[in-house]
């Protein structure tokens, strides 16, 4: 490899064309290298983000350029029971699903951290729910939640005889809400488990040996070694998880589309319904923008709330 580099670079050095010299000029090269990435992100991310905030203050609809209306959209949202309902369900959905994902995911990571045969195969199988397109696995859940032919109902009614009637998973508000949360937890467990497993594997075994010699119980080892050592990675994974759970769209759109009677709308699905399906771009943008404060708050809370403890411990140890 290096030999070929030498000879050809030596050749280039002998007859340096202006083009070669230009591309070896560091500031020019830096600009050229950053241009594609920064350009794409500026046009399709930063600009739309600004445009979205602008749209939220206008009454734009599809096909008509709007005018600036100030806070009217937001004032309307504050009086809109559907928006409050979506805020309520988004918070509930995020809170319960995040808790479930992390409790079960952490447990699964701890289980996977043991030694047993076929470990890498098992790890591969477990990531599958996360690899497969969410909408497609959501369709499978929709079928599992079918009011008449639900396999869960079949198990509970006809096999186990625990219930006398089929469960109506998606027919009324609260069962539908919890069914969606269950599907979200199912999808989220693998990501959390595999990320946390990576964190668990970085903890030095000598810490556990020292604790065992001091007579620490299994719970104490978990509470005073595993948990504090996992804090930094937990903070990052949780920040990501909260952001993407709060702004989730696919699961709800695929399984209930916000129904029954708009009880399972998340802010993202409500924004889609108003903004794209309904054509009220301004109002949809306002709903999308109203997610930002929640996201900033959740990010700061999970990141600093969890990370600060790590710093305090670091200071105490030093």
């Amino acid at each position: 490899m290096s030999v070929t580099t030498l000879s050809s670079s030596a050749l280039a050095q002998r007859q340096p064309s202006w083009l070669v010299r230009l591309f070896d000029y560091k500031p020019f090269l830096i600009v050229m290298c950053l241009a594609p990435a920064i350009g794409l992100l500026a046009v399709f991310l930063t600009y739309p983000l600004g445009l979205g905030i602008w749209l939220a203050f206008t009454d734009t609809t599809i096909g008509r350029k709007g005018i600036f209306v100030g806070l009217e959209n937001f004032q309307y949202l504050l009086t809109d029971p559907l928006w409050w309902n979506a805020v309520f369900y988004s918070v509930v959905y995020t809170a319960i699903a995040t808790f479930g994902k992390f409790a079960l995911g952490f447990w699964l990571a701890l289980l996977l951290n043991n030694h047993f045969p076929f470990k890498s195969l098992l790890r591969a199988i477990i990531l599958l729910p996360w690899i497969v397109p969410t909408v497609l696995s959501a369709l499978a859940f929709w079928w599992i939640y079918d009011p008449q032919f639900s396999i869960i109902s079949y198990l509970l009614v006809d096999v186990l005889h625990w219930r006398s009637s089929n469960i109506d998973f998606l027919g009324s508000a609260w069962p539908a809400r919890f069914s969606l949360i269950a599907a979200n937890i199912w999808r989220g467990i693998p990501f959390v488990a595999i990320s946390l497993l990576a964190g668990l594997q970085t903890i030095s075994p000598s810490l556990y040996e020292a604790a065992m010699l001091d007579g620490a119980s299994a719970w104490q080892r978990f509470r005073y070694i595993t948990f504090p050592m996992m804090m930094p990675i937990l903070a990052i994974v949780m920040t990501f998880s909260i952001i993407f759970t709060f702004t989730d769209f696919q699961l709800v759109y695929a399984i209930t589309r916000g129904g029954p009677v708009n009880s399972t709308h998340l802010l993202a699905t409500l924004a889609f319904q108003r903004g794209i399906a309904g054509g009220e771009l301004g109002e949809g943008a306002a709903i999308a923008v109203s997610m930002i404060p929640f996201l900033v708050f959740a990010t700061l809370f999970s990141y600093f709330g969890l990370a600060r403890r790590k710093w305090q411990q670091g200071e105490a140890n030093d």
Partner: protein, 299 residues
Amino acid sequence: MTDTVAQPAVADAKAAPDTMAWDSGLRRLMMIYLPLGCFVLILLFPFYWMAITSFKPNAELLNYKEHNPFWISSPTLAHIKHLLFDTAYPRWLWTTMTVAIGSTTLSLIASTLAAYAIERLRFRGSPYVGLGIYLAYLVPPSILFIPLATVIVQFGLFDSPLALILVYPTFLVPFCTWLLIGYFKSIPYELEECALVDGATRLQILRRITLPLAVPGLISAGIFSFTLSWNEFIYALAFIQSGANKTVPVAILTELVTGDVYQWGALMAGSLLGSLPVAVFYSLFVDYYVSSLTGAVKE
């Protein structure tokens, strides 16, 4: 059903050799293998259910009294045949493949160059550029899709797969850039210094030294981008209108779900076929997935 029967038998076989530590073997069974078995069963069941539904004839599908729902007595390919020959499914697969490959290529090029500039051509403010790109990853598509739809219309790209190829890099580039920055960090800088001393140009260094050494990182970033763009939903739903240009996830949900009677067989067959490419891809590159997933989190 069948798994719960098989579970203890397997575990017994494992516990058998060390009869001395039978107590610890039983403990292991209860504390590790049993919960693990439950996890695997629950995580895989929807896929089993998806697969079994797509090969069941309609009569069996909706009759649990006479047929055991957990098994197929007379498997059929009717749903898959319907999907492949009576719908535009092959076309959707093709569109999805084009979009996924196009956006992956675009993001790989953009993020390799950006990562190289940030990590190797150190300049004043390069950490801030890196941070800015990282922050871009935290902006969820749910916030962006409405203004992006108007941008796409302005560009005259509405209803074109090209729009998706250009938009997907907004979430692929930040991810790939961070993955590759981590990878470039692991390549000794001395190698590049040697080449510089020998008179190689920076582009030659990138092409002949850094890139060949970063191949595992490039594969990780590539397969990850492919999976993410294959699975993307909200942009594809908002920007594509005509049936022929839809991607698989959107098309199954909007074109196959018709009326009040759901064609569960066809829906599940569509989901199975749509998941298959990423699943096959995944099985070929499992280790890269795991390393990129954990690498991205650690960064």
